[in-house]
């Protein structure tokens, strides 16, 4: 978990934007499969096997659902396989459905990992750079939510033991929660005055506020960023050479081949697998280090 996510948040964000954009704006099967593979492997490297198994089963089901729904409603394409209610079910539509569901599932897996990699403080840090006030507000809000929750629980328990509006009837429950909420609001207002005092006492409002973060931009981050830039340039070249051109309708176009295309594919594969390679490498290294002791 900590090998990839220890990169600087801005680098992580760039990586994620590239991966997601690349996955979302292409229908090229090689690209999609690479992305899906990368997403699943990364998820597997950072989560217990049990979670992976559960997710795989669910998404396999989703895959078939999507792949089979498309041809039922979409009848484009040149090669009808059979007719259903006088409508052709075409090979192209089935392949297109499969392609789109691979894309969707790939994105899902990447997003699942995103939550683990880009934690709230990284998010706040990134956007705080652009809008410093917003970052503080976000940080305060994130502190407030758990406090709010626990106080709500306390109030409602105490009110329950006083026997106020505690029967199981709907009206009682509604009135009970409204009352708790109103008490909670008073409590929040009252206590936030103290928070405001504490901010003032520590000089909030002085001129020239800076933004501190515990993230530092290291050499590794620079290297990865440069690599990502190079990758983007390479992809631009590939785009120029029509390596990424692919269409399903009216008939499935051939997948571009040739040395240039293979080079492009392998670069994309490496780039998509990068986080999982890093995780796996880290684990093997650790094992080796342990073995040497």
């Amino acid at each position: 978990m900590d090998h990839f996510s220890s990169y600087h948040p801005s680098v992580l964000l760039v990586y994620y934007v590239i991966v997601l954009l690349l996955t979302m704006f292409t229908v090229h099967p090689v690209l999609l499969v690479c992305s899906l593979l990368g997403g699943i492997l990364f998820f597997a490297a950072t989560n217990p096997l049990k979670a992976l198994g559960k997710n795989l089963i669910f998404y396999l089901f989703l895959f078939f659902l999507l792949a089979l729904t498309n041809p039922i409603f979409n009848h484009r394409g040149e090669t009808p396989l059979f007719f259903m209610n006088d409508n052709p079910v075409t090979l192209e539509a089935i392949l297109y459905g499969a392609g789109v569901s691979v894309m969707l599932i790939g994105i899902m897996f990447w997003c699942k990992c995103y939550n683990q990699v880009m934690t709230s403080d990284k998010f706040v840090y990134l956007f705080g750079k652009a809008i410093p006030k917003l970052s503080l507000v976000l940080s305060m809000a994130l502190r407030f939510i758990p406090v709010f929750k626990s106080q709500m629980k306390k109030i409602s328990q105490v009110q329950k033991t006083m026997g106020l509006y505690t029967s199981d009837s709907l009206t009682d429950r509604v009135i009970g929660s409204i009352r708790t909420l109103s008490a909670l609001l008073t409590w929040c207002l009252e206590n936030s005055i103290e928070t405001a005092d504490s901010m003032k006492a520590r000089g909030y409002g002085l001129k020239g506020r800076t933004n501190f973060s515990i993230f530092c931009f290291r050499m590794d981050d620079g290297i990865l960023l440069a690599a990502l830039g190079a990758f983007l340039c390479m992809s631009g070249v590939g785009y120029q050479q029509n390596v990424f051109e692919f269409y399903y309708y009216p008939s499935v176009s051939p997948i571009p081949t040739g040395a240039g295309a293979y080079l492009q594919y392998s670069i994309i594969l490496v780039m998509m697998l990068f986080p999982s390679i890093l995780e796996i490498k880290g684990r093997i290294q650790w094992k080796l280090l342990r073995a040497k002791i």
Binding site: L142, T161, G163, D197, S198, A201, L206, F212
Partner: protein, 565 residues
């Protein structure tokens, strides 16, 4: 040059006749550790806030405050904010951000310190305070003691010259509070930081203070070294309520009218007793006949727990493991125990907020499950929570009280009669029209207790009733509980406050390792404990092993008399 000097300082809140602070003059020298004590509502907090310009309340101010020879009002903003640090009472509300590291950096960010400098200062401070272990945590996951330490550290990174603290330990348990005071002592001793502290818990701070200020109704009564305060307060102001709040050795010394130096610590107290008083001749337990340990009959029990097991979730460990508890009708039963040991959870299980997964609970001989919805809370059981603010929902205490009438189905006259009676009993008539949040900690406690009493319970459960209230309010609360016992109400309280439990309870027990153990009368409970016992007992046990309160020690000293020299 004195770091803070106040000359004839007076302050009146808008719309009030009485001065909240009344012609107070004092000087604080660099490196001094000054403790201010006084009853709640005597103007301590107002005085402290006046010294911190950003927090000074609205109202009319007379007199002058100087910081390092400059008028406080003429200081530039940066100096005023950074060089005078201020820590407040409530650990929770002072935290601003969601991460510990961000909280530490917050003050420095405001000052506009560049990132590498912040990194160094935060790192240095986190190591000094031992925060590095939870540096990356979310602030909401910290305990109260950790939060308060974080608040202190996040002031200290701004490198203040004077630290002002307003009852910083009142919401903490005794161990966290002692840790906090020790940290302050360390700051004072090792960094020469000037500290101005308002405190209720004087046992720990008196021995380390250089000066003590006693305030009463806005005036500064005394301002001197702790030892002199100890002897002067008694001479000049007999029966002053502040006398109740002094450390046990000082109280015993004062009540004995001895001619000797005033002892400050337990050790000095022991020496003082050995030097001046005769030992108990034949040591006798005050309970001559041992109470017959008969198994109480079921009818005599108010609360009966049999082999209770509880955990919050299936995957989590047990909080209660085989708890057996028998509380007799009409007694005051205290459960003592450390923080996080599960005392509050135990109360929540007894009061039906949580359900045990094994074992049986009987309240007044009837199984808890057999009470229909809400019936348990009408005329049977009431729970006063740790934080009295959670009890109130309305805009005034009186309205909150009236609502109870609706639930209980009292008539209008009956309700008014009840409110008047309970308000009289608790002496809170003037609090009724006020907003609950405008009351002080002790007043909130009393008002909340009043609301519970309107439910006319036969058994009252109290969760840390002495948390955050001063010695005088504690004495008042003791009187109230005593009266309730006389009316036949059973009281079960959980607390860390050893002194309070020793004075009030009929029986005490210790909650340890998920169980209630060693239940006994206070005298044998505390005299058998070596560490977990009252200060008076620790001080006098070598002479009078069965004395557990200050009054006991004083009585025995008088009985056996002075040593003839």
């Amino acid at each position: 040059m004195e770091i803070i000097k106040s000359e004839d300082l007076s302050f009146t809140y808008p719309g009030q006749e009485k001065r909240a602070v009344d012609s107070v003059s004092f000087k604080i020298l660099p490196g001094e550790f000054v403790v201010i004590c006084g009853e709640s509502g005597c103007g301590k907090t107002t005085l402290l806030k006046l010294l911190k310009r950003e927090l000074s309340p609205n109202g009319t101010l007379e007199g002058e405050i100087y910081y390092m020879g400059t008028r406080l009002g003429e200081l530039d903003d940066r100096t005023a904010a950074c060089e005078i640090g201020y820590v407040m009472q409530n650990p929770e509300n002072q935290v601003v951000t969601d991460k510990v590291w961000h909280e530490l950096a917050f003050g420095l960010e405001n000052m506009g310190v560049p990132t590498p400098e912040i990194r160094r200062r935060v790192g240095e401070m986190a190591s000094f305070f031992g925060i590095h272990e939870w540096f990356q945590k979310e602030t909401s996951q910290l305990s109260g003691g950790q939060k308060q330490l974080l608040n202190l550290a996040s002031i200290m990174v701004m490198q203040p010259r004077i630290l002002i603290l307003d009852e910083p330990t009142s919401q903490l348990d005794p161990i966290a509070a002692a840790d906090f005071i020790n940290t302050l002592h360390k700051l004072n001793r090792e960094l020469g930081l000037t500290i101005l502290l308002v405190e209720h818990r004087l046992e720990e701070v008196f021995p380390i203070a250089d000066k003590v200020a006693v305030m009463d109704r806005g005036r500064l009564l005394l301002y001197d070294t702790p030892r002199i305060i100890g002897s002067e307060l008694k001479e000049k102001y007999q029966n002053h309520p502040m006398l109740l709040g002094l450390p046990s050795p000082m109280r015993i010394y004062q009540q004995l009218d001895a001619r000797d130096d005033c002892p400050l610590t337990i050790r000095e107290g022991r020496d003082f007793l050995t030097r001046n008083y005769q030992k108990e001749g034949r040591i006798q337990s005050p309970e001559r006949e041992k109470p017959v340990r008969h198994r109480e009959k079921e009818e005599e029990l108010a609360v009966h727990l049999k082999n209770i097991w509880f955990r919050y979730e299936r995957a989590l460990p047990d909080i209660l493991a085989g708890v057996d508890l028998r509380v007799r009708k009409g007694e005051i039963f205290s459960i003592l125990g450390g923080n996080g040991s599960g005392k509050t959870t135990l109360l929540s299980v007894i009061s039906g907020q949580n359900k045990a997964y094994r074992g049986g609970i009987k309240i007044f001989g009837k199984k808890i499950k057999e009470y229909k919805s809400g019936e348990l809370y009408r005329h049977n059981l009431a729970l006063l929570p740790q934080n009295p603010q959670t009890v109130f929902l309305k805009t005034s205490v009186a309205e909150d009280y009236k609502e109870i009438g609706k639930v209980m189905g009292y008539g209008k006259e009956e309700l008014e009669e009840d409110i008047a009676r309970i308000a009289g009993q608790l002496n809170i008539q003037e609090l009724l029209p006020k907003h609950p949040y405008d009351l002080s900690g002790g007043e909130q406690q009393k008002a909340a207790l009043g609301k519970m009493l309107l439910l006319k319970p036969r058994c009252l459960l109290l969760d840390e009733p002495t948390k955050g209230i001063d010695a005088y309010s504690k004495a008042v609360l003791r009187g109230i509980l005593d009266n309730l016992r006389k009316e036949g109400i059973t009281i079960l309280l959980v607390t860390h406050d050893v002194e309070f439990a020793a004075q009030i309870s009929d029986r005490c027990s210790l909650f340890f390792d998920r169980e209630v153990i060693s239940e006994d009368t206070p005298v044998s409970f505390f005299s058998n404990n070596n560490f977990y016992t009252t200060a008076a007992n620790r001080m006098a046990r070598h002479m009078y092993p069965y004395a557990i309160t200050c009054e006991d020690v004083v009585a025995l000293c008088r009985k056996y008399g002075r040593k003839s020299i």
